[in-house]
């Protein structure tokens, strides 16, 4: 009888302590990366859940805006000039390179180097046709606007909205894997541009921008995850992106709390966010990100 009582007491104590420890764990600060879904789980994500993952086609435009504010001169050296659209390639390569060149087009347009973007446009047109989405890319009109350099707003609208339409069409038609590749291509080229500029032009805003990509990378990996085991090309890309994620692991992003300030100006609402995100990243961490980003991007644009 006494023996049974001791066992019951032991089990109760064990339960109480195990509950306490789990409570403490859930109260810990949850870092954006910690709540990411493992690949095995993400493969089970429903279409609706995947639709809820953000897709940013415009990030290279935002990066180019930062570069212009930093007075960084335009450089052809940042472009993926080695991409040859005449080469035989798989749908995987075409979609990825469509994204990479889309980022380059955004950079060229933001710097008003529209006359020199014709080669990029021709390649985009070939890759878009190659995955049967050429109908959304009005090559002749974009080319005319680029050559005329008269209506930059229309050019930006038409270029970016073409990519947005391609993304939507691919998802609607159940070709989400190509959409995920295109978005990845846009992101990696934008990341390459930002990191390469940082090597020569150190700047705190651009540096923070690179650090904050930890949040966006998390979304991107979730977007890719359902396809990681679909073929060897995807497996290799996912492995590279996981390696990049590893380099971001110890970068800290913290938040300070605040309420948005709202005011009316000339009939419009103007809102300033006082809540702030802050990035803690060492030079070593940044250098590791610069190196791995360059390796992944150069591998993706190589013709081997």
């Amino acid at each position: 009888m006494l023996g049974k009582l001791i066992i019951i007491q032991f089990v109760v104590i064990l339960l109480v302590f195990s509950c306490k420890s789990s409570t403490r764990k859930s109260a810990e600060f949850v870092f954006p990366e910690s709540d990411s879904i493992p690949i095995s789980e993400a493969e089970k994500l429903s279409d609706e859940a995947i639709d809820d993952i953000s897709r940013n086609i415009s990030s290279p435009v935002e990066i180019s805006d930062i570069l212009q504010k930093m007075s960084v001169p335009f450089s052809n050296g940042y472009l993926a000039s080695s991409i040859d659209a005449r080469r035989q390639s798989t749908s995987f390569e075409k979609a990825l390179k469509l994204g990479i060149l889309g980022a380059d087009l955004g950079y060229l347009n933001m710097y008003e180097k529209t006359g020199t973007s014709i080669d990029v446009l021709s390649s985009i047109n070939k890759f878009a046709d190659g995955i049967d989405v050429g109908q959304f890319f009005d090559f002749e009109t974009i080319k005319r606007l680029s050559l005329n350099r008269t209506n930059l707003d229309s050019l930006m609208l038409l270029s970016l909205s073409s990519y947005n339409q391609i993304d939507k069409y691919l998802r609607d038609k159940g070709r989400g894997q190509l959409s995920a590749l295109m978005i990845t291509g846009v992101w990696i080229e934008g990341q390459y541009l930002a990191t390469q500029v940082l090597k020569q032009h150190p700047d705190s805003i651009l540096r923070n921008r690179v650090g904050e990509q930890k949040i966006i990378l998390n979304d991107l990996l979730m977007l890719l995850a359902p396809y990681c085991n679909s073929n060897s090309e995807f497996t290799s890309l996912c492995r590279d992106m996981q390696d990049l994620k590893e380099k971001y692991r110890d970068i800290k992003i913290t938040y300070t709390v605040g309420e948005p300030i709202m005011e009316e100006k000339n009939g419009s609402l103007v809102v300033t966010q006082t809540e702030e995100s802050k990035v803690e990243m060492t030079d070593e961490q940044l250098n590791a990100i610069i190196a791995i980003t360059g390796n992944i991007r150069n591998k993706l644009i190589s013709n081997d």
């Binding site: 809820d52 993952i53 953000s54 940013n56 086609i57 415009s58 990030s59 435009v61 935002e62 805006d65 930062i66 212009q68 933001m110 009005d138 009109t141 005319r144 606007l145 209506n151 707003d153 229309s154 050019l155 930006m156 609208l157 038409l158 970016l160 909205s161 947005n164 339409q165 805003i205 923070n208 921008r209 904050e212 949040i215 966006i216 979304d219 992003i253 938040y255 948005p260 709202m262 009316e264 100006k265 009939g267 419009s268 609402l269 103007v270 809102v271 300033t272 966010q273 006082t274 809540e275 702030e276 995100s277």
Partner: protein, 144 residues
């Protein structure tokens, strides 16, 4: 003779200018109304029937916004839209950030400028005032 020449020139030029727009005229018109010094980033087309039992805005989209960037949200209604497009933004944790509709005064702002200081994925909700049926478009632009 001069008048005919001008008309002929207009007939030739106008289609060329119009063809340099997005394929959806509502999106093109709205993007061009975003104002000078802005760059189009994304459009959200909103078409909804009349709502009956809703309390929350019905169309949800997600979009990443970055620190140190100023964004402009421009809201436009189709000519035949019964409802007026409204928008609300929450952050990734569901915290309210802004609304284009002031429920106290009943005022709808057709344009909202947002200076972002926290990088993340934001939830953008759209609907039509009083859950009326309607067709409209929301444009996100970068203010340079």
């Amino acid at each position: 003779m001069k008048k005919h020449l001008i008309t002929l020139l207009l007939l030739l030029i106008v289609p060329l200018l119009l063809s340099g727009q997005s394929s959806d005229p509502l999106i093109s018109k709205c993007a061009m109304n975003s104002g000078e010094g802005t760059t189009y980033l994304k459009d959200f087309r909103v078409q909804l029937p009349k709502g009956t039992t809703q309390t929350e805005l019905r169309q949800k989209q997600v979009f990443p916004l970055s620190k140190n960037m100023k964004y402009r949200f421009t809201l436009c209604n189709a000519d035949n839209s019964k409802g007026e497009l409204i928008m609300k933004i929450k952050d990734n944790e569901g915290k309210f950030i802004l609304s284009s509709f002031d429920s106290k005064s009943g005022k709808i702002y057709p344009s909202v400028d947002f200076t972002c200081n926290k990088t993340g994925t934001y939830q953008i909700y759209f609907d039509f005032r009083d859950f009326q049926p309607g067709l409209g478009v929301g444009i996100v632009s970068l203010v340079k």
